[in-house]
Symmetry: C2
Subunit: 204 residues, 2 copies
């Protein structure tokens, strides 16, 4: 269905920018391969990682009907995307309510996810935060047909820490503790969830 409006499928290098807050909004992106992070920043330079995006997921939904993007999106590794020029999506949507409906579904799911994430940021301890985060990644990968137990952490410790509202050092310590307790095994960028039940129990 979307084939008709995919403008191009483009490659990105690690740290390459997909769009910036100051860019005019024109295009929705769907991750084809690799992974991305989105960030927003406060006036004083502090940054918040607002999300990570994997194959099949939409980037830029929060900018729909806005003059410009509301965040900055950056590739975490060698990645590629499908670009959906929004004008075409909209034009096609007029005759295909299903398409708009698809978008509504994606948006409301991301919204629901963000509300859940507020609970994490506002109420959880560092261990609960990391446990919840790892499990959420696991479920997303599983949903897309990948292993729920073993996957690659393409984002840096610092990105994870920032996203979860913690200092890098804290994340590092919790990773170490989880490993000592046999919950996970880390080998380079690859993490294995050795005891998903125990991780689940730690989520709070």
């Amino acid at each position: 269905m979307l084939d008709k409006i995919v403008k191009r499928s483009q490659g990105y290098q690690p740290k390459q920018t997909l769009f910036t807050i100051s860019d005019k909004f024109s295009t929705l992106y769907v991750v084809r391969s690799g992974s991305f992070k989105t960030t927003i920043s406060a006036s004083n330079g502090r940054e918040q990682v607002t999300g990570f995006y994997f194959p099949g997921e939409f980037i830029g939904l929060e900018a729909l009907h806005m003059p410009s993007y509301q965040s900055t999106a950056v590739a975490l590794e060698a990645s590629s995307v499908c670009a959906l020029p929004y004008k075409k999506v909209q034009a096609l949507g007029e005759s295909m309510p299903r398409l708009q409906s698809q978008l509504l579904t994606r948006l409301s799911k991301e919204l629901a996810g963000d509300k859940t994430f507020m609970l994490l940021l506002g109420k959880k301890t560092s261990e609960e935060k990391l446990a919840t985060y790892l499990l959420s990644l696991s479920k997303r990968f599983e949903h897309r047909g990948f292993s729920a137990k073993e996957f690659s952490l393409t984002m840096s410790r610092s990105d994870i820490a920032n996203h979860l509202g913690l200092a890098v050092e804290t994340i590092s310590r919790v990773f170490t503790k989880f490993q000592e307790n046999g919950l996970i095994v880390i080998d380079g960028k690859t993490i294995t969830l050795a005891n998903i039940n125990k991780i689940q129990a730690l989520c709070g």
Copy 2:
């Protein structure tokens, strides 16, 4: 436009529930008068206030195309809403792309707001949090044609604290400090922003 699908306009008492997480999703609500809060809760009983809603604002958007609501909505004062049965919204949307477009806009704005809120929860100090919150309320009221400087805090200190990821005691202390520094004046439930520039400067 929406007149055709408004099912009823109903009144709610303080603390009365609009919907619960366990309720089947069927209806979108638009606040007509008063105010509401939405919350989600963790398995262990901890709760997070995910948002406050004032006249003209939609409640329940994150449940679109979901089997059930994703949060609980409760009236903060005597309030009323317009109920939009989603089936009718959807049916009408087929022939009126504008309507779906309206929904997309609302959703993406709420999404953008939530991303900004992550920055607050993850990176700001207690003073920055409260300053940002007060200013955000001020802008929302101004946008709807009410005073930007003086309005009623219909939610409890405890709701504010919870929403901002702080303890009630901390919020109380910051309110006191802001008052001592001449930033605000509080009289019962009414707050006056005495020095918006200074508050703005504190937002971080």
